[in-house]
């Protein structure tokens, strides 16, 4: 694995440029590929967002909460105050981060399963609150807003691709500045990390805020892109599940893992949705269980550990 990783590390710039080119391609292939591309990119942001929180050892089972806060923030500001929907990712990201910082200090003492239960309850509670605060949210009716960039697909595509690049940059920044190591230490053993002098409070709240802001930005983008925000959709279990499965299947605590997971799971879902329109989410459950039981380092780990050495073996023989 180490050899394959070193090989990839050396060629990182080339891979990134190639990756960007591939990511941009669907925008020019027509409306359906463009829509597919935008959705995949949106889920990449969500997957990276989940992964950053997981790095601190916190498993969010209700990540839709922050996605929904982002979506509702821009939808309500747009309808009631006339804020342009193009500010969606910014407004969504900031409001979700603000909520996360407040919540972060409350949830600090909570670990493991308790944290996960808390996130699940938080997402469900928000759904009830947004359904009942009809004066501002119009309840179950939802909020319709202006289309992002007047419905220009290319600009929307560029916007979400920009968000993906920003998310990737944030992850690189965490790795370069060493925050990553502090998070890993907290994940492995929080008490030991505190004894080593790591300010666990600071790093946990930081990871929570960054993670929430990315999910909120994705929600803020989606509100304008779909022109419609609806409590059963933005706070749905389906979004929380997707945000969780994609990075776990791709490979946690890496940058390429969540990206690979988002692309493969979303495409699988898109195909399956045609076969079984109801219950296509069964693939989510299966993928999640199989990943935990048989793919401890995800798809990325499988490729690096098994496939890459096999390919090199063949090269060597020829």
């Amino acid at each position: 694995m180490a050899v394959a990783e070193a090989w990839l590390e050396k060629r990182a710039p080339v891979i990134w440029i190639l990756g960007m080119a591939v990511a941009l391609l669907p925008a020019f292939l027509g409306p359906y590929p463009a829509r597919l591309g935008i959705n995949v990119l949106k889920f990449i942001v969500l997957a990276i967002s989940f992964d950053i929180l997981a790095r601190a050892g916190q498993m969010s089972v209700g990540h839709a909460a922050f996605y929904g806060i982002g979506a509702y923030a821009i939808a309500m500001l747009s309808v009631h105050k006339g804020v342009p929907v193009e500010l969606g990712p910014l407004v969504g990201g900031l409001s979700a981060a603000a909520v996360a910082v407040g919540l972060g200090f409350l949830t600090l003492r909570i670990k493991g399963a308790y944290f996960s239960i808390g996130t699940l309850a938080f997402a469900e509670a928000l759904k009830v609150i947004f359904l009942y605060a009809r004066k501002y949210t119009f309840g179950a009716q939802g909020i319709g807003i202006e289309p992002l960039f007047g419905g220009n697909v290319l600009l929307s595509y560029a916007c979400i691709l920009g968000l993906v690049v920003a998310s990737a940059a944030v992850v690189r920044l965490l790795e370069v500045t060493g925050v990553n190591y502090a998070l890993a230490a907290i994940r492995e053993d929080e008490d030991a990390a505190a004894m080593l002098g790591i300010d666990t409070t600071k790093y946990k709240v930081l990871a929570f805020a960054i993670s929430a802001s990315l999910a909120g930005a994705a929600g803020g983008f989606d509100a304008g892109y779909t022109t419609y925000v609806y409590p059963y959709e933005v706070f749905s279990v389906a979004i929380s599940v997707a945000a969780m499965i994609m990075p776990i299947f791709g490979g946690l605590y890496t940058l390429s893992g969540p990206i690979m997971g988002a692309v493969s799971v979303y495409l699988a879902e898109e195909i399956l949705r045609k076969w079984i329109p109801q219950g296509y989410t069964i693939v989510y459950g299966l993928v999640l269980m199989v990943s935990i039981l048989y793919l401890p380092r995800g798809l990325r780990g499988l490729l690096l550990e098994r496939v890459a050495p096999a390919l090199r073996g063949r090269e060597g023989a020829s």
């Binding site: 239960i117 009830v128 359904l131 009942y132 599940v241 069964i282 989510y284 459950g285 039981l293």
Partner: protein, 289 residues
């Protein structure tokens, strides 16, 4: 505030509390012995509700008479879940266990959606809608039946745990698996039994869901969250805490439903409020194990 209305709401709340205790029992048992937090527990209850529906529609079995069958079916499901999923992750980090049981939950929900669709289903049993009046209080047969069955199974389980030889072994394993193993207890077999029992008790709760509530693929998610609110308030693994917390949840839901306009829509929020408040203020719950 009308006193009669208050008494009525509290009486309904107590009946509801009995149901919630049985909903939580399996989750609490599994956590107490295997130390796995099962996010799919409510979905096992949902399976029990559909099993009751099927037995009724296909073979005309009365829901109360179907309890032994549903118990056995879900015991089998629980055993299978143990062998396939729980056994390999017994020693895994908590976040892996959470992700796995969450995956199981999504899997079971999707399976129900494929098999039965998203329609709300009910059993039409004539005796459920009858009522009985005691002084100012009027109680529905459906809720009385649910309370009695839940109480019988909860107390029966406590008796099993306290007085039977197998119950002794379960308690020994929950306290110290290694010491129990040295004393000749087959820990693996106890884990399998507990997983089966946890699911079977969930199945009986499912029968009660079929008697009183709408059956749909997502009914389990609501019940999982309610069970979580009970164990979080009562303290994970504590049975006394579970009973007290069930009363708190049942009575407060009932009061919210009676006191506020549109209260029945707000009642589900009580469980979330309990979870958020307890986690923020007293994460270890009221009773420590």
């Amino acid at each position: 505030m009308n006193v009669d209305l208050l008494v009525q709401a509290v009486a309904n709340g107590v009946l509801l509390a009995g149901f919630y205790a049985l909903v939580t029992l399996g989750l609490n048992l599994l956590f107490g012995v295997l130390e796995i937090t099962n996010f799919a527990h409510g979905d096992l209850i949902m399976m029990g509700a559909y099993a009751t529906l099927w037995l009724n529609r296909l073979a005309g079995v009365d829901p109360i008479a179907s309890i032994p069958m549903v118990f056995l079916i879900l015991f089998g499901v629980g055993l299978a879940v143990y062998l396939l999923f729980f056994k390999p992750i017994l020693k895994a980090p908590a976040h892996n266990q959470i992700a796995l049981t969450f995956g199981l939950s999504v899997f079971l929900q999707s399976l129900a959606l494929i098999a039965w669709g998203s329609d709300l289903r009910t059993l039409d049993i004539p005796y459920v809608s009858k009522t009985v009046s005691i002084g100012p209080v009027t109680l529905g047969y459906g809720r009385l039946i649910a309370f009695s069955i839940a109480a019988a199974f909860t107390l029966g389980f406590f008796a099993f745990l306290k007085w039977s030889k197998l119950g002794y072994a379960v308690r020994a394993v929950s306290q110290d698996p290694e010491a129990a193993s040295l004393l000749g207890v087959n820990v693996n077999r106890i884990y399998a039994l507990v997983s089966g029992l946890a699911a079977a008790l969930g199945g009986v709760a499912g029968v009660l869901v079929a008697i009183n509530l709408y059956i749909h693929p997502y009914v389990g998610v609501e019940l999982t969250l309610k069970a979580f609110s009970v164990v979080i308030l009562g303290g994970m693994g504590s049975y006394v805490g579970m009973l007290v917390a069930s009363l708190v949840l049942g009575i407060s839901e009932s009061l919210v439903g009676a006191l506020f306009p549109q209260g029945s829509g707000l009642a589900p929020g009580v469980a979330f409020a309990i979870i958020v408040l307890v986690l923020a203020l007293k994460p270890e719950g009221l009773f420590r194990r």
